[in-house]
């Protein structure tokens, strides 16, 4: 069920989600999205272009963060607008052969603004990895019931 405007207020918490990321996840995302830039799967290449190591696709982080909103909204089609700036890379350690994640991304969301005329809620996401905000102005507009 989609949330309705009357039961919402700005600042309200919509919950949080922890996303564990491995190198395997990045290979899967590369295949699913068609973005095969080797900075997302090849350590030697990544360091050769002055990165500290393999980093997640910005679009992996953006795409996985929005699931918090999708689940809250009750329908993926309710997310009518979604934007972000990419500020810091998510460094993913090679933990192949173990059960440890290579990185952990913490996502939380609050209601930033309500628009009664458009019947939408703006959800502001906070997305943090290794103690740093990796997305800025991560905002989703949700069409309400």
């Amino acid at each position: 069920m989609r949330p309705s405007l009357t039961e919402l207020s700005p600042g309200q918490d919509i919950g949080n989600r922890t996303i564990e990321v491995t190198r395997t996840d990045l290979v899967k995302y590369a295949g699913a999205s068609g973005d095969f830039n080797p900075i997302h799967w090849n350590e030697a290449f990544a360091t050769s272009v002055e990165l500290p190591g393999v980093i997640a696709h910005g679009m992996f982080t953006m795409g996985s963060a929005v699931q918090l909103v999708t689940d809250w909204a009750g329908d993926p089609a309710a997310v009518v607008d979604f934007q972000t700036r990419f500020t810091k890379p998510v460094l993913v350690a090679d933990t192949t052969g173990t059960t440890e994640p290579g990185a952990t991304v913490e996502v939380s969301g609050i209601i930033g603004k309500l628009d009664a005329e458009a019947n939408t809620a703006r959800i502001d996401l906070t997305v943090v990895a290794a103690g740093q905000k990796v997305l800025m102005k991560a905002q989703a507009q949700v069409k309400l019931a």
Binding site: I19, K28, A32, V66, D71, A77, V80, T84
Partner: protein, 153 residues
């Protein structure tokens, strides 16, 4: 290497058709760790009023990045892909993308500005679903800025 400033205002017309398949929606949804039933179960999607499986909100990046490739691979553009950093991204959905859609993208170069020795390039993809005959329906607008790092950046 310098970015061609004449890129601003350039457009690339809709080229190949992208056929949205159920298994691709499921694969992409799994890849972004989405669990909503409307991405996986046709009956669940229909129960929400959709024609078929619903794509995740960032699925359109597949089509947008294919359109962007026309610019990045254009020898006249002067873009070194290994120096490209994704700076920002936006999706505006006029309606949700669903399985069975046949999509095309028109690419527009909305902005080019020098940043140090590099450049910030803003592109917009207007994504349409093909209908019967010559008809088409606007589905999604994506905008994206990429930073092409200059030497030493």
């Amino acid at each position: 290497m310098t970015i061609n400033p004449d890129l601003q205002g350039r457009s690339y017309p809709a080229a190949e058709v992208y056929d949205v398949g159920r298994e691709k929606i499921r694969e992409f949804a799994r890849a972004v760790k989405a669990t909503h039933a409307a991405h996986f179960d046709v009956e669940a999607a229909k129960a929400l009023g959709h024609r078929d499986l619903v794509a995740p909100p960032t699925f359109a990046i597949i089509i947008a990045q294919r359109a962007d490739a026309q610019l990045i691979e254009d020898p006249e553009a002067g873009i070194d892909f290994s120096r490209v950093v994704h700076a920002d991204q936006r999706f505006t959905h006029h309606r949700a993308i669903v399985a069975g859609d046949r999509l095309v993208a028109e690419l527009h170069v909305d902005g080019v500005r020098a940043m140090g020795g590099g450049a910030m390039i803003t592109t917009r993809s207007e994504i349409f679903a093909l209908g019967d005959g010559d008809s088409r329906e606007q589905v999604t607008t994506t905008t994206s800025s990429i930073l092409v790092r200059g030497e030493g950046q």
